[in-house]
Amino acid sequence: MKIIVNGQSLEVTAKLLDAALGELGYGDARVATALNGEFVPKPARASTSLGDGDRLEILAPMQGG
């Protein structure tokens, strides 16, 4: 299916969020996720289903003021 990852349309085969993160190369990366604008805590990723056209945000630590 196609989902929008950080604003970019990508093809994923995984049906669950944690598997999709692995497929997209995030593995054990220190990131937080939001699906369609809603925060998905790490423990909930394994039970969060993805659907065609879903918007996934994957955020990591960055410099800030």
């Binding site: 937080a32 955020l59 990591a60 630590p61 800030g64």
Partner: protein
């Protein structure tokens, strides 16, 4: 200074953005003596691990992090960003920014209060980036904030303390609330001035990061904050309009 039950030795909080290199950022933080640095969350592409590298750098500094919600323009955006930051940085502290205007980066104080209430109720320790409006400040305290961070001037301008009267009023009105001037500080003298007014700390980023020598400037700010803090404790003289000779008049020779 104590914020949310944590004793903080340094009264200078430093941002981590816009430095020429990670090494200079590290040296500047050390030179500043800051014990709290601000950080943010941004998109990361799979596999590049920039975020992890930055996190390792910050962790090695041994400082406490204060994640921000920079760039958020709505309650929803700010609350979701805060939730994500709590997980990534493993802290309940959040520097809450809800921007209302792109030219001035002035906070949308109505949405700020709403977001502060939601986050406080959810267990966050909220550091709100606000204006010097006393009514808004009262609402933020009612919403659960235990520290207030009024702006000195718009973010990144370096204009200093634009409304000294407003800041002085805030200090007088909230004698027991930790107050941190956040944003607009461009020079060490601005930071010293904030401390002389009785503020508990200053938070700045661009003034150090964009200096020709960020490490030297970080050291200059550390000294200015210390000077301002000492001056406040030393109880400064009252200013007056007319001159008053400092050398005794009594005993002056008659030589005319």
């Amino acid at each position: 200074m104590q914020v949310y039950g944590v004793d903080i030795g340094s009264r200078l909080l430093l941002g981590t953005a816009q430095y020429p290199s990670p090494a200079i950022l590290g040296d500047a933080v050390r030179a500043s003596g800051a014990e709290i640095v601000t950080v943010s969350l941004r998109r990361e592409s799979g596999g590049n691990q920039h975020g992890q590298a930055f996190w390792n750098l910050i962790r090695d500094m041994g400082v406490r992090v204060l994640p921000n919600t920079a760039g958020c323009h709505s309650v929803k955006e700010a609350v979701t960003t805060a939730q994500m930051a709590r997980e990534v940085f493993d802290t309940s502290w959040i520097k809450l920014e809800v921007i209302g205007d792109n030219d001035t980066l002035c906070p949308n104080v109505l949405d700020l209060v709403q977001a502060a209430r939601l986050l406080s109720d959810d267990g966050f320790d909220v550091f709100p980036y606000t204006t010097d409006d006393l009514v808004v400040a009262e609402r933020l305290l009612e919403a659960g904030c235990r520290v207030l961070m009024p702006w000195g001037a718009p973010i990144g301008t370096g204009l200093g303390l634009n409304n000294v009267y407003g800041l002085r009023s805030m200090r007088a009105h909230f004698p027991d609330v930790p107050l941190i001037v956040d944003a607009g500080i461009g020079l060490p003298s601005h930071a010293a001035h904030a401390m002389e007014l009785g503020f508990d700390a200053v938070l700045l980023n661009t003034a150090v990061a964009k200096a020709g020598d960020p490490v030297m400037m970080a050291s200059a700010f550390a000294k200015a904050v210390e000077a301002g803090t000492l001056a406040r404790s030393a109880d400064p003289m009252e200013a007056r309009d007319m001159a008053s000779p400092s050398t005794p008049v009594l005993g002056k020779a008659s030589l005319g």
